[in-house]
């Protein structure tokens, strides 16, 4: 019984963590390049809406779900580009621009939903796959092989992003523009261009994460579907020390804590539920406080626009 509960907790945590991983990896890229995007939450909302909407109007199976995801990625990139234009080209204060983008995204998503759909409806979406044979492996089957397809795609995205960051020329450039943009510039790296690309990627990933929420997790769109998950994801990037695996651990820890507190509530241990709900947030802070943070990986020029012709 107990082992079943524990397996259940872990199995439930994995699909939950995907949202954070997706947004987090995207945010990791733009932070590594020196741009701090608080607007991920807003981008997620637009992604969640558009992904939902595309599937809703197509009304046909998994194909339309994927089309929805692609649409979400596209619109996320577009929102990312808006952020990039303001923060990279126009060197705007990133904190404000992020909050503004959050407001814009929330507003646009909500309004389009009202105008084009009007009422809460559900879609088929992508359901959990029970992978034949593999899912009947004891313990592992339940934990690893009974999730929706996006979980597996995300598990591919993590090593892919690691590879991109650490084994390609582009990844080198990203790391360079986030820590030493002037040096990067002298080495022939187009600082603003790399930053722009990274912010767009961050947007695309946030859009996808939004669509994951509406298409894979809830099969629905409703106001404030993200409920602050974008902000959590931004925080988890710091937790993960700007590394894909770090972000994965952070997201898993946070999701496990959530899944754990929900199980505690469901299995009827009687204490104020607020404490249960608080638990994941406190846990994440506590773990980071104990483990300490390294400054080596930190993009030291995070939040600072680069002016080529400024004497320093």
């Amino acid at each position: 019984m107990l082992s079943e509960i524990i397996i259940g907790i872990i199995a439930a945590a994995i699909p939950l963590s995907i949202t954070f991983v997706l947004v987090g990896i995207g945010e990791m890229f733009n932070q590594r390049a020196g741009v701090f995007n608080l607007g991920a939450e807003g981008i997620m909302m637009v992604g969640a809406f558009l992904g939902f909407y595309v599937e809703y109007i197509m009304k046909s199976g998994p194909g339309s779900s994927f089309l929805g995801m692609i649409a979400a990625i596209a619109v996320g990139s577009l929102m990312g580009a808006v952020m990039a234009v303001t923060c990279v080209n126009f060197k705007a204060e990133q904190g404000i621009a992020g909050i503004a983008l959050f407001m814009l995204g929330w507003g646009v998503a909500g309004m389009l939903f009202r105008v084009y759909i009007g009422g809460t409806t559900s879609i088929v979406g992508l359901k959990a796959l029970d992978i034949p044979f593999l899912n009947s492996i004891p313990v592992l089957g339940a934990i690893l092989f009974s999730h929706n397809i996006m979980v597996y795609i995300t598990l591919v995205i993590i090593p892919l992003s690691w590879y991109l960051l650490n084994r390609t020329a582009w990844g080198l450039k990203v790391k360079a523009v986030g820590t030493a943009p002037r040096a990067a510039d002298t080495m022939g790296v187009k600082v603003d261009r790399i930053r722009f690309q990274c912010v767009v990627i961050g947007g695309a990933m946030a859009g996808l994460a939004g669509a994951y929420l509406s298409i894979c997790q809830t099969h629905i769109y409703a106001d404030n579907i993200t409920a602050g998950r974008g902000f959590i994801a931004v925080a988890l990037v710091y937790f993960g020390k700007w590394k894909p695996t770090g972000i994965l651990w952070g997201a898993l820890l946070f999701s496990l804590a959530h899944s754990f507190q929900r199980s505690i509530q469901v299995y009827g241990i009687d204490f104020p539920y607020e404490i249960a709900v608080m638990f994941p947030y406190i846990l994440v802070i506590a773990v980071l406080a104990i483990s300490g943070s390294s400054r080596i990986m930190a993009p030291t020029m995070l939040g600072r626009p680069y002016y080529r012709e400024q004497r320093d």
Binding site: A169, T186, G188, V189
Partner: protein, 511 residues
């Protein structure tokens, strides 16, 4: 592939910055295999001119010709394609990447995915073997010493096939031996067909290395010709527009009273490696103790432990026989410590604060400047005005931010503050680094003045000339230990150089 630069010409180059005319109608010529030394005081426009050649800045007027054809260099990439490489004064390296990755960043700045670590390794090996530059390609830049970082810079430029190298004050941070090696290396490279532009204000080196000299003053070219046509004194006069001679310490009988004493002091560096290793040192009242050494051997850490900015893991520091080790910086300041840090822009001053605010950086809480926590604006302004005129600080006003002053004037702000506070001990770390002769002259005279006023001065420097001119005794630091202390009049450059490189007779080591 990069261009083979046969000759280079600047025609009437001008560049303005808000409020400054950095380059004014400059004309220059350089042929293949020549070494051109670009001389000038700080702010004369040397760096700006080179940044234009390197594509970082665009000239407002004028043109650049390579091999007789007009070219437009609108980015460092373009410069690289034309075979121009630059080693900046502030190294342009990405600290959180390895040596190899930094080189790779240059080699693959056009590609997206492609990143052939093997090819990069091979390139680094080839270059380091050809020019005997030793470097570990897999170590992170932030772990390297300044000298090593410079080698990375050279490898970087060479790996890109540069045949015109611009070096912006390359010797500022090197030991005499390293400097000599660099000079030989540069000559060899020139002989092999490389053209080199060498920015400096150290005239001896310039004489040793270059064929051609160009002197800039206030953005204008005041001399362009052969190196051998002028003596160093004449060149100095050309640079400054007046004749300058650096002050030399006059003999003074030092007192026997020890003011500052370090006993078996150990400390860790920022990278968690041992920086000071049971170091012993004592300084007398009324003497300048010069500390020689290659940077990265514990000098900055030494200055920091004395000032309470770094933890002492072992040993004792005594100021006037009172222990000050691991006391708070505030307490140490109150006990009469003065400190001129190496990083004058970010440590010695709060760069976005006004001159006035920086002048009271250590005294704002002093009853003469604040009453019941409120700052006394009038008194502070009067005091600042007084120091500004006394130390001849060139600033539009006391409300101007320090960041907008030149390096020399920032140093004067620090100097005015530290000396006027009348400390018992003054620790000065690289006080003239990057300053032009005029400013260095001023700093030197003030340090000597402090000594004559019976202060104990610890002068950390990499320039032997400076140490030998000013110090009463010279201590050599190597890997966190004092190897030897030599009275300045007995010191010889060659011996100091060997000591700095760690070569010494064990028997002579200070216990």
């Amino acid at each position: 592939m990069s261009l083979d630069i046969q000759n280079l010409e600047f025609r009437s180059i001008s560049k303005r910055f808000p409020g400054v005319l950095a380059c004014d109608n400059v004309n220059l010529k350089l042929r293949k295999g020549e070494i051109l030394a670009l001389l000038g005081e700080n702010g004369a426009g040397k760096t700006t001119l080179m940044n234009i050649l390197y594509g970082l800045y665009q000239p407002d007027e004028g043109e650049i010709l390579i091999n007789g054809r007009q070219v437009s260099i609108d980015s460092p990439q373009k410069a690289g394609e034309m075979g121009i490489g630059m080693v900046h004064q502030h190294f342009m390296l990405v600290p959180n990447l390895t040596v190899k990755e930094n080189v790779a960043l240059c080699m693959y700045n056009d590609s997206f995915f492609e990143l052939d670590h093997k090819a990069v390794n091979a390139k680094i090996r080839e270059i380091s073997e050809r020019h005997t530059i030793k470097i570990d390609p897999d170590s992170y830049i932030w772990k390297l010493s300044v000298g090593e970082q410079q080698r990375v810079e050279l490898i970087k430029s060479l790996s890109l096939g540069a045949n015109l190298l611009i070096l912006d004050e390359p010797t500022a941070v090197l030991t005499p031996q390293e400097t000599e090696e660099l000079i030989n290396l540069l000559k060899e490279m020139a002989a092999g067909g490389c053209s080199i532009i060498f920015i400096s204000h150290k005239l001896n080196e310039v004489k040793a290395v270059s064929n051609l000299i160009a002197v800039l003053r206030d953005g204008r070219l005041v001399y362009h010709g052969n190196t051998n046509d002028h003596s160093t004194d004449e060149l100095a006069t050309l640079m400054a527009g007046r004749s300058i001679s650096l002050p030399v310490a006059k003999e003074k009988q030092p007192s026997d009273e020890i003011v500052l004493e370090l006993q078996n002091v150990s400390a860790m560096s920022d990278r968690d490696t041992p920086a000071l290793n049971k170091l012993n040192l004592s300084i007398h009242r009324g003497e300048i103790l010069g500390l020689a050494g290659v940077s990265g051997n514990g000098q900055t850490e030494l200055a920091e432990v004395i000032n309470g900015l770094r933890e002492v893991t072992e040993g004792k520091i005594l100021l006037d026989n009172e222990e000050i080790s691991n006391r708070s910086p505030q307490k140490i300041i109150n006990k009469g410590m003065g400190y001129i840090p190496a990083d004058r822009l970010h440590e010695g001053t709060v760069s976005s604060f006004s001159v006035k605010e920086n002048i009271i950086l250590k005294d704002y809480a002093n009853p003469s400047f604040s009453k019941a926590t409120f700052l006394l604006n009038k008194t502070i302004s009067d005091y600042s005005e007084e120091l500004v005129s006394k130390f001849n600080i060139k600033t539009p006003g006391i409300e101007t931010t320090c960041a907008s002053l030149s390096g020399g004037n920032i140093q004067k702000v620090i100097l005015s503050r530290e000396i006027t506070r009348n400390p018992k001990v003054l620790v000065a770390v690289y006080p003239t680094r990057g300053l032009d002769l005029g400013a260095a002259e001023f700093v030197h005279s003030k340090l000597l003045e402090a000594r004559d006023n019976d202060k104990a001065v610890l002068l950390v420097s990499e320039e032997l000339e400076e140490l030998m001119n000013l110090s009463d005794r010279i201590a050599v630091i190597y890997e966190g230990k004092i190897l030897k202390i030599i009275p300045a009049k007995e010191a010889e450059k060659s011996e100091l150089g060997l000591l700095m490189a760690g070569v010494h007779n064990e028997a002579q080591a200070i216990q």
